[in-house]
């Protein structure tokens, strides 16, 4: 029975070493996982709660649906390669796809800041519909609120999504096995760097565009071709490092990444070097990793490469028994542990 009485904290809050919420708590790293693990997950107790997965898989009427939600607060609202609207659709569609579900319906909740240009809102909303059409989903319900000027950041969007999981699909960290191959569908770090470049004060000019895209078609192609897909995870906040650590932790196995095989574009690399970022920890919005049976790896890469947003697919690592560690084998042969960052990466100078 819970000790908690509303309005009165009986047990001390379990994350009291941080009396205030920090930006780092949203960074996709250890602080965010701590926040989820200590405040949200234990409070919203339920047998079906799956806080550590992209989407919850729920039994219904003999079948299974995937259910997920995601909020979008990106600043600037409009950036090279997309806007907060297209992002809002892609993000939630991808979360559903990562559970092996066919994404069907989305809701869209808007929190608008007083003073937002109607034209901007129109652009964002149009982008959402285009993205939805492309992904084959429908936005069927929603909500709108407006907050005072200065209390919102232009627009915040929440999208929730429902998808149907085919009976024969079983995708989860529990299915990851030693020997499995880890594949990504393309080059890393584009979205995060596009956003940073678009922010004021940094002053870099570049043609880097966000990689934001819906990925469901890639997943269904893999499944349709009989690829033995054990697990999927999209690479969002916290990048490849966060995602691999999450899977290592959830599966109990270790993942070894080959630095030499990591796909990163020259200009993304350049910006990362300039600002002291690690491309492996930078956010993506159109990238995912597939953990597949070793025999299927080559075929899986081939299938992805033949499809839009999969052209850069490549195998980047393997799973090994136990340990829950993610390690990186450098170009020089040295191996080192890749731990999750605590929070946001800060641009650094010597």
């Amino acid at each position: 029975m819970s000790d908690y009485t509303p309005g009165q904290l009986v047990c001390p809050i379990p994350i009291s070493e941080y009396p205030k919420v920090l930006l780092a708590h949203g960074g996709g790293g250890t602080l965010m996982h701590q926040l989820i693990g200590k405040i949200f997950a234990p409070t919203f107790k339920s047998d079906l709660q799956q806080a550590e997965h992209d989407a919850a898989t729920l039994p219904i009427n003999g079948g299974r649906i995937a259910f997920t939600t995601d909020s979008f607060v990106v600043n600037p609202m409009i950036f090279p390669g997309g806007n907060i609207g297209s992002l809002a659709v892609h993000g939630t569609v991808n979360d559903l796809a990562m559970a092996g579900a066919k994404p069907l319906y989305l809701s869209a909740g808007f929190i608008l800041e007083e003073g937002l240009d109607m034209e901007t809102l129109w652009t964002v909303v149009q982008a959402m519909q285009s993205a939805a059409e492309e992904a084959g989903v429908q936005i069927v319900t929603g909500d709108t609120k407006v907050v005072d000027r200065g209390k919102g950041d232009g627009v915040f969007i929440n999208t929730a999504g429902i998808g149907l999981i085919p009976d024969d699909v079983e995708i989860s960290p529990k299915r990851i096995e030693p020997g499995d191959a880890v594949i990504v569908n393309g080059d890393l770090g584009r979205h995060g760097m596009a956003i940073i470049a678009a922010r004021e004060g940094i002053g870099f000019e570049t043609s880097i565009e966000s990689d934001s895209a819906s990925l469901h078609h890639l997943v269904s192609a893999l499944l349709a071709n009989g690829i033995n897909v054990h697990c999927l995870r999209d690479l969002t906040r916290g990048g490849l490092v966060s995602a691999t650590n999450e899977l290592a932790s959830a599966s109990g196995h270790s993942i070894q990444i080959n630095e030499a095989s990591l796909p990163v574009r020259e200009d993304v690399n350049a910006m990362c070097e300039l600002l002291g970022f690690d491309p492996m920890s930078v956010a993506n919005e159109g990238r995912f990793m597939a953990v597949v049976a070793p025999d299927d790896a080559e075929k899986a890469v081939e299938i992805l490469r033949g499809l839009p947003h999969g052209e850069g697919a490549v195998a980047i690592g393997t799973v090994s028994e136990g340990g829950s560690l993610v390690t990186l084998k450098s170009r020089f042969g040295a191996a080192r542990v890749l731990s999750m960052l605590s929070g946001e990466q800060l641009p650094r100078i010597c």
């Binding site: 920090l22 042969g333 605590s342 100078i349």
Partner: protein, 367 residues
């Protein structure tokens, strides 16, 4: 990419490492005094490629790590002052002062902003004439000319709402301090390549002679670092103690005279307290009399600060090369990047952070 990739060639790296093996006959302890080099060494696993007889020690080369606690506390105080926009490089934001770091001040509502260049801060001052913009001027000699230029431009343009909180530190003074410590094990130094780009390496020659140690100016890519180590070991094996330049494509013996001239006008040598080491005389740069109007410490009434260091943090010993991060009882347990006890864990170039990120095997927490 030209001028970068060639110096990361894995083949070359392996072969230079092999060559170091062949010439090493005795045990040697070499210290590098540059956060960027510490970072590169741990990230690329360079120390693992060296023979066991060579011990690489990480010195106080991370300017973020050695910035005195009382300066951080002053920064915090300024950032909390209404009407002040406090600007800084990214790394400094997470360094704990006696009580809090700048990021917490930001969370509490202070106007703390990250900049890529001191010129960005100056522009902010021009764009916000009703506010005071302070730039936290941290760094070794590499960064000083950039802050100097900002101040020179401010004076020329008559910008009155811009000031510096200076925390600059000097490498040669650090080398001297390390070598005069009674317990020092260090027998040779890799000098910071970018610092020497500005200062040149003339002043290292008397240092090398006085303490009988080789000092090799070294770059940052794996090939540079290994070449630097090679030259140092070669000198040691041959009994030489000279200042040598590995990073010759960028470093000239006299440095960058244009930069040094500006520095000479804007800054003057001052005593500095190095976090974890203590006060080293003549080891820093502060604003000269001609530019003291831009000194934030003089412009603002900053409350009296008594700085307290966390008693468990041994970053002082780590900065002096006496201990390695993994020898600290709190390392990875009570002191992690999430809750750092000292600066060497926070700064991405701090030795503890580098070890944590690239070496530490985290205890797996049950989800």
């Amino acid at each position: 990419m030209k001028h970068v990739d060639e110096y990361r060639d894995p083949e070359a790296v392996k072969r230079i490492a092999a060559k170091i093996h062949t010439i090493t006959t005795k045990s040697w302890t070499i210290m590098e005094v540059c956060g960027g080099q510490t970072h590169a060494i741990v990230r690329f696993g360079i120390d693992e490629l060296l023979p066991d007889k060579i011990t690489l020690v990480h010195g106080p080369g991370c300017p973020v790590c050695v910035t005195g606690v009382e300066l951080i506390d002053k920064a915090v105080s300024l950032a909390r002052t209404p009407g002040v926009i406090f600007t800084s490089f990214g790394d400094m934001l997470r360094v704990p002062g006696s009580k809090v770091d700048l990021l917490s001040v930001k969370a509490d509502g202070g106007d703390v902003r990250l900049v890529y260049s001191p010129l960005d801060s100056l522009k902010m001052a021009q764009d916000n004439p009703d506010k005071q913009v302070v730039f936290f001027s941290v760094g070794f000699e590499t960064t000083a000319p950039t802050a100097a230029m900002a101040v020179v431009q401010a004076k020329k343009l008559g910008i009155r709402n811009f000031s510096l909180l200076t925390a600059h530190v000097l490498v040669p003074a650090a080398i001297r301090a390390i070598m005069t410590m009674p317990k020092t094990q260090v027998q040779g130094f890799l000098a910071a390549g970018h610092v020497c780009t500005i200062t040149g390496y003339e002043e290292y020659e008397p240092l090398a002679a006085e303490f009988n140690i080789p000092i090799v100016v070294t770059g940052f890519e794996p090939v540079d670092i290994l070449q630097g180590i090679y030259k140092t070991v070669e000198q040691l094996e041959q009994g030489r103690s000279e200042a040598e330049n590995q990073y010759s494509r960028v470093v000239r013996r006299e440095g960058n005279t244009a930069a040094m001239k500006i520095i000479g006008e804007v800054f003057t040598v001052v005593d500095r307290t190095w976090r974890g080491i203590g006060m080293i005389p003549d080891s820093g740069w502060g604003l000269s009399a001609e530019y003291e109007e831009f000194d934030a410490e003089k412009r603002f009434d900053i409350e009296d600060i008594t700085a307290e260091e966390d008693s468990e943090c041994i970053s002082g010993k780590i900065l002096q090369g006496i201990k390695k991060p993994i020898e600290c009882p709190a390392f990875g347990i009570r002191c992690t990047p999430d809750h750092p006890l000292g600066a060497t864990m926070v700064s991405s170039e701090g030795a503890c952070a580098a070890y944590f990120k690239y070496r530490h095997i985290p205890t797996v927490e049950k989800a």
